[in-house]
């Protein structure tokens, strides 16, 4: 078997060296009643040809987003990733290396993480960032828990513009520590409403900009109001490319910023693996979850990097850790770093402008369709569309015509009573032909 180098001859030699006559002598501690005497009831091993055929057959039953016009967003975005990014992350030394616990032989990983942390801090406008969490939604949950620890208060207010999956993840994570969650009702321009729900026991408010309806908000006023009450402001960003054009959350007064980094360096991958960005004010550093990479020197005075501030983490603090997280999203963070390094500031701004520009064209095309309204007033590359009919069936019909028309809000929140809302996004990969095809198909379906 191609992945198993031990031969029968090896086995005989090694069993002898170990003083066993049969491999099952080494399983002597397993109670006899539970030892399987034969392989389980699953197919036997297969060569590459057969495996490739099987997986290709499954892949062929899916319609790749890029196979036609595609406008799905709502937390995951189809962007162009330069060819060299995926090539570099597949290098053995990056792909098959472990967590950098032995820093002398892991400076590649560690230096890339240091660059990543610097990039994330710069993008979000914050003082310090960690080496990534699993994804934006779990990062959001961790931020709420952190705010509760810092303020010693037990309530969090979630804006009605927060992605429903993110809100659900926060709800789940908050249960253990007993943090009460107040979920504001879904609304296009929802962020400022969080202030109404603040009381003496509020640890934090969570807003999203651009929010799930694409609405971009200047949260500076919210930040000021929060600060006056000792409430932490957590700003969520699901489309990280927006930070190339819009004012950063840090600039607007955020205390913690959480973001989904998937748009940079990472394919859609049907929802994972993604990469959670987490950044905060320096004074909150010791309450931050996740791995962190720091600069130091070696015995010869050479600059180097190490994982640091580990005493926050599970392997040391165990039940008193700031989180239970062990892994970060290493390879995805590396892809992010490489892509961002190739883009640079100039490239990122250009990319962001292109995204916004094409979204404006899309908006104009859709707004011209009879019966269609665009309730989102300020947006980056995504906005809500109000249809004269429930959105989900329209999306199904359009899929049958080869157009992936976006995400019906009812898919995310079936009980919100906003079934007529469709979330559509456009990126630098969206062409004018795509937009024309979408508009034509939608016109036809609504007629």
């Amino acid at each position: 078997m191609r992945y198993l180098p031990i031969t029968a001859e090896d086995r005989a030699h090694m069993l002898s060296a170990v003083g066993a006559s049969d491999i099952d002598d080494l399983f002597v501690d397993v109670p006899a009643s539970v030892r399987l005497s034969a392989p389980v009831d699953l197919p036997a091993h297969q060569g590459e040809i057969a495996v490739e055929r099987a997986l290709a057959a499954l892949a062929a039953k899916n319609r790749p987003a890029g196979a036609g016009p595609s406008f799905c967003g709502a937390g995951a975005y189809r962007h162009h990733v330069p060819a060299s990014v995926d090539h570099i992350i597949q290098r053995s030394e990056f792909l098959t290396s472990y967590t950098p616990y032995q820093p002398e032989i892991a400076q590649g990983t560690l230096q890339a993480l240091f660059e990543f942390q610097t990039q994330v801090a710069a993008l979000t406008g914050m003082e310090v960032a960690n080496a990534s969490l699993y994804d934006g939604s779990t990062a959001c949950g961790e931020a709420v828990l952190m705010a509760a620890r810092v303020t010693r208060r037990a309530k969090a207010v979630l804006s009605g513009g927060l992605h429903p999956h993110y809100a659900a993840a926060v709800q789940t994570l908050a249960r253990g520590p007993g943090i009460a969650i107040q979920q504001m009702p879904a609304a296009i321009d929802a962020e400022a409403a969080v202030l109404e729900a603040i009381d003496a026991d509020t640890a934090c408010v969570v807003v999203q900009t651009p929010n799930v309806f694409g609405q971009a908000t200047d949260v500076s006023a919210i930040a000021e109001a929060c600060r006056a009450k000792g409430v932490l402001l957590i700003v969520t960003v699901t489309e990280v490319v927006s930070l190339g054009l819009l004012k950063s959350p840090g600039e607007m007064g955020a205390d913690i910023v959480v973001a989904e980094g998937q748009s940079i360096g990472n394919a859609l991958n049907f929802g994972g693996p993604y990469v959670g960005l987490f950044a905060a004010r320096e004074k909150l550093l010791r309450q931050m979850p996740g791995r962190m990479c720091g600069e130091t020197v070696d015995a010869d005075g050479q600059r180097g990097f190490v994982l640091t501030l580990s005493t926050r983490e599970q392997h040391i603090r165990r039940e008193k850790a700031t989180s239970n997280i062990c892994t970060n999203s290493g390879l995805c963070a590396l892809a992010f770093t490489i892509h961002m390094s190739l883009l640079g500031e100039t490239g990122l701004r250009r990319l962001a402008l292109l995204n916004h520009q094409i979204a404006r064209t899309l908006k104009d095309a859709l707004a011209a369709i009879p019966g269609v309204e665009i309730p989102t007033t300020r947006y980056f590359n995504e906005f809500a569309v109000r249809l004269p009919a429930p959105a989900a069936p329209v999306v199904e019909t359009l899929a049958g015509k080869g157009v992936l028309a976006g995400v019906p809000f009812s898919r995310l929140a079936p009980d919100a009573g906003l079934d007529d809302l469709l979330i559509v996004s456009a990126t630098e990969l969206t062409t004018l032909d795509d937009i024309a095809a979408f508009a034509a198909a939608l016109t036809e379906v609504l007629a």
Partner: protein, 121 residues
């Protein structure tokens, strides 16, 4: 100055006691990188966790030697944790407690008794 078997020291002045960790502890912990001092007003019983001393790879709880209330925590310690390694029994005190019962302090080991205890380890 009195000592506990857990390597804390305590020095009483009136009804205010100053607490820190001993030179033995500081040496065995290795380089101290951070100290988490207690909150003012925190009420503790003997044996309750009072502070946390962090070295690179470990976090060690420091226990209160006596019952009392925290009235002061050393402010500069977080910025200069190396003080714990340099002068653990002097400059690097962690907290001052208003003690409920000064006799509790008297009951602890004195320097000679502590040294004898160390010799058994």
């Amino acid at each position: 100055m009195r000592f506990t078997k857990d390597h804390e020291w305590i020095e009483l002045d009136g009804d205010i006691a100053t607490v820190g960790i001993t030179a033995y502890a500081a040496e065995h912990l290795g380089d101290v990188v951070f100290v988490e001092t207690p909150e003012i007003g925190k009420s503790v019983k003997a044996g309750d966790p009072l502070a946390v001393v962090e070295s690179v790879k470990a976090a060690s709880d420091v226990y209160s030697p006596v019952d009392g209330v925290v009235v002061e925590a050393q402010p500069g310690l977080s910025d200069h944790p190396e003080a714990v390694n340099q002068d653990p029994e002097g400059e690097a005190w962690f907290a001052k407690l208003k003690v409920a019962d000064p006799a509790q302090v008297e009951a602890l080991m004195d320097r000679d008794a502590y040294q004898a205890f160390l010799d058994t380890l």
